[in-house]
């Protein structure tokens, strides 16, 4: 092979990386957008601590509320990143969570077993997720379309499940739920699931091919990637996240109606984008986006609640500030990618 290595440009700092090409430090112009979601969370946390301290809020209680607010969203959103990384979109996450939580509740009522409840939540959510993925694979439809159909079906299933109790709600023994609705349980579930997701997404073929599909599905196919198998694996993991989220939802809210978990779907989406997740998926997908975004949302909510507790227009102002902060973080996070590619 003709050696053309003399034409390789030296790096900015002149040092050589392990591949023979030059390693370099990232410039602030590149670094700031990459770190924008993290910086956003740091800024919000500082504001949260300052506002809380000045207002004389019980910080321990406040932190507990913050975790309660964010843990379900973080878990479901982290699992959903496996779907969104491929450039796919699941609109039925909230409905799946509700149905899985209801089935889990019914399972507990029938067996009085925590394990049975957990297994029922997970199996229901994974099965629901796989139905969407399988329908998309069999009929060669965009996943978004099948999840729209699932949204309707799951709404009907939730109504049917409630009707089995003869009332308007599914109720789990609240003293049992309170027993497990604790920070150690929540954090254990969250940490275990996040660790699994980080491992699968960062260190296995699955995460890599998902980003490849999101970046360019045609290239992925011509590189030998099975779109169907990958989609099914992604939906299975997302289903696991929904199942765990549903389990914690039952513990937190042991009385479930058809309108429970109504805002989970939208909050999951907002959390991912807030955390720096490109909605089109692809190579810039980061598995920790859900964690950063979910926490940022919860910290911002808590701070605004504390700040505007005495204002009658507090909720409205809080929503506006949340929207502005959201826009600012996403704008900075994406600024590095708008003018980077060479014209072709």
């Amino acid at each position: 092979m003709h050696d053309l290595t003399q034409r390789t440009r030296p790096g900015a700092n002149g040092t050589s990386g392990p591949n023979g090409t030059a390693a370099r430090r990232r410039s602030p112009r590149e670094l700031v957008p990459a770190l924008a979601p993290l910086l956003g969370l740091v800024v919000l946390t500082v504001a949260f601590v300052v506002v809380g301290t000045v207002s004389g809020v019980n910080m321990s209680y406040s932190v507990q509320t913050l975790i309660n607010q964010s843990v379900v969203i973080v878990i479901i959103a982290t699992g959903a990143i496996f779907i969104f990384a491929m450039g796919s979109f699941d609109i039925s996450l909230g409905a799946s969570t509700l149905v899985a939580a209801m089935v889990g509740g019914l399972a507990y009522n029938a067996t009085e077993s925590l394990v049975a409840m957990l297994v029922a939540c997970i199996l229901t959510a994974v099965a629901t997720s796989l139905v969407s993925a399988s329908l998309a694979a069999v009929f060669n439809l965009p996943v978004f379309v099948t999840t729209v159909a699932m949204l309707s079906v799951l709404g009907a299933v939730a109504v049917a499940l409630v009707q089995t109790t003869g009332g308007a709600q599914i109720k789990v023994d609240s003293s049992f739920a309170r027993q497990y609705d604790t920070l150690p349980v929540k954090l254990s579930v969250a940490v275990a699931f996040l660790a699994l997701c980080v491992f699968l997404f960062t260190y296995t073929r699955l995460g890599r091919v998902e980003k490849l599909i999101g970046g360019n599905p045609v290239t992925a196919r011509l590189t030998g990637v099975s779109m169907k198998k990958t989609a099914i694996a992604a939906f299975a993991i997302a289903g696991l996240g929904v199942g765990l989220g549903a389990f914690l939802t039952v513990l937190r809210t042991p009385t479930m109606t058809t309108s429970s978990a109504a805002d989970i779907g939208m909050n999951v989406l907002v959390a991912m984008v807030f955390g720096g997740m490109p909605i089109s998926g692809g190579p810039r997908t980061r598995i920790y986006a859900a964690l950063l975004g979910g926490l940022s949302m919860a910290v911002l909510n808590q701070t605004m609640t504390t700040l505007l507790a005495t204002s009658s227009a507090g909720n409205g102002i809080s929503q506006v500030v949340r929207a502005l902060f959201f826009l600012a973080v996403v704008w900075v996070a994406t600024s590095g990618h708008r003018s980077k590619l060479l014209p072709r």
Binding site: V218, G224, K340
Partner: protein, 499 residues
């Protein structure tokens, strides 16, 4: 500025992140001339012309067009002002019709009572296509349903229907068949009467034939402008790469050689009416070329061999495994380099490392329980990066920031790294400069010597003759004739067979 100048660029600079694409470039275009712009991949040709054509803004420097400062805010503004550009890669929107592509951003002229008069738009589009001698394209066809060459002709029509003063042709001819090239050359020649052309090409022979003057760029700097009387291939090549190209451009030997082992056997391969009953055997250490006129079925045959299109009849067997889809092909140690590099072979927003590693993820996880570490990936990617001399800051550089030649090296690197034994290369040197071309050819010779089998689909006859052990000429979806490598083989003989 001289009295003849229509366009002058002074001290232009432009950076993309850490990449300095242009460094104080001066350029002058005279009225009535076809001005060649030549340089290696990454030299700044496309960047310079894309600024002039309104695709983006320069960081520094000035442009004067027809004696006035020129700073178009968009491609449409530039086109309306008199400068149109046909881009190197696909410049059409796939989901809309040919007519809608032709009038992209200008559909308002067909609005009647608040609604777009599509019939009028289609009629006007038909006239625009006919005006440049293209009558085989239905304006209602979605652009995505057309092949790459036809989409380029649509782009050509879109620019020419505005009768611009300056036309920029950016490395377009390699996407075109002989007929398409003749259409382009005719239009370029006619453009002399009403304005000028900036003609970008890596084909030195073509640029010498077409252009009146040419400017050489290297690493974002203007090196020299050659008048027609000064045209000298060796001097131009030396200016382009800053050194003399040594050794043979193509293979030095003139005899066909191969190992006895058959790696690929295709029998009665049929894909609609594009490929009809093609039989093909490729042995280890053999380079088989597939050539022909556009629409002869050669590109579809390449895709069929890789399992990228469903066969209506026949089968393809590689290393004893029947190829029914791309996954089977990759598992059977096949690799495929598409003609449409940006759309089908690369993930432009991913890094070099992500792209090269993408075909070898199973290998990377083997023996480690599927675990893929950054260190293992770095080692995996380092080999092809070094071997192919990919010009990049490091392996985390985003592929979309690379020049065409370096992108193509990344595509090659992807298949070399995972140890592909059978490579289907569809126009592998399209849009790459002579330095990269030479490196590609030498790589192919090396792969041949290692016992790999290569099927090279190409529209460049000299390339096929220069590199292949056997050459199959396709016509109307079938193999019209097979030629064996040898000193007596002539281009004329092959062309006669093609037509």
């Amino acid at each position: 500025m001289t009295s003849e100048s229509v366009l002058t660029v002074t001290d232009m600079s432009k950076s993309f992140g850490v990449v300095r694409a242009l460094k104080g470039v001066d350029f002058e275009l005279r009225d009535g001339e076809v001005h060649g712009l030549i340089g290696e991949n990454g030299s700044g040709k496309s960047t310079l012309t894309s600024i002039v054509a309104g695709q983006q803004r320069a960081d520094a420097g000035t442009v004067h067009f027809l004696g006035r400062p020129w700073s178009p805010a968009s491609v449409n503004e530039a086109l309306d002002g008199g400068i149109g550009m046909i881009v190197q890669e696909s410049g059409t929107v796939p989901g809309i019709s040919v007519a809608e592509n032709l009038f992209l951003g200008d559909a308002g002229r067909f609005v009647r009572l608040g609604l777009v008069d599509r019939a009028a738009m289609n009629r006007e589009a038909g006239r625009a296509l006919a005006a440049i001698g293209i009558d085989a394209i239905d304006p209602r066809t979605p652009a995505g349903a057309l092949d790459f060459q036809t989409r380029k002709l649509v782009e050509l029509a879109r620019v020419m229907m505005h009768a611009p003063k300056v036309v920029v042709v950016d490395e377009t001819t390699t996407a075109l068949s002989q007929h398409g090239r003749e259409t382009l050359y005719r239009l370029v020649d006619e453009q002399r009467a009403r304005g000028s052309v900036i003609f970008i090409s890596h084909d030195l022979e073509e640029i010498l034939a077409v252009c009146d003057r040419l400017t050489v760029l290297r690493d974002g700097e203007m090196i020299r402008t050659f008048e027609k009387s000064e045209f000298d291939e060796d001097a131009i090549r030396a200016a382009m790469i800053g050194r003399n190209l040594d050794g043979h451009y193509y293979r030095a030997d003139t005899t066909a050689t191969a190992f006895p082992q058959v790696l690929l056997r295709a029998t009665d391969v049929t894909v609609g009416d594009k490929v009809r009953g093609v039989d093909l055997v490729v042995r280890a250490g053999e380079i088989v070329g597939i050539g022909g006129l556009s629409h002869c079925g050669m590109h579809e045959l390449g895709q069929a061999l890789f399992g990228a299109v469903r066969l209506d009849a026949g089968n393809v067997v590689v290393n004893g495994k029947r190829i029914v889809n791309e996954q089977r092909a990759v598992r059977a140690a096949m690799g495929y380099v598409s003609k449409d590099r940006d759309t089908e072979s690369l993930s432009l927003t991913a890094s070099i490392s992500d792209n090269i590693a993408s075909a070898g993820l199973r290998l990377l996880g083997r023996g480690r329980g599927g675990l893929i570490t950054r260190r293992a990936e770095e080692r995996y990617v380092a080999g092809p990066m070094r071997q192919l001399a990919i010009k990049a800051t490091n392996d985390r550089q985003v592929v979309g920031t690379l020049s065409g030649g370096n992108k193509q090296k990344v595509v090659f690197g992807k298949w070399i790294a995972c140890g592909s034994e059978v490579l289907i290369l569809d126009c592998p040197t399209r849009g790459v400069d002579i330095g990269v071309k030479q490196a590609m050819y030498r790589l192919m010779v090396q792969l041949k010597s290692e016992g790999k089998a290569i099927v090279m689909v190409s529209e460049e006859m000299t390339e096929l003759m220069g590199m292949c052990d056997r050459l199959l000429i396709m016509k109307d979806g079938t193999v019209a004739r097979e030629f064996q490598r040898g000193p007596e083989l002539t281009e004329m003989e092959i062309i006669q067979c093609m037509i």
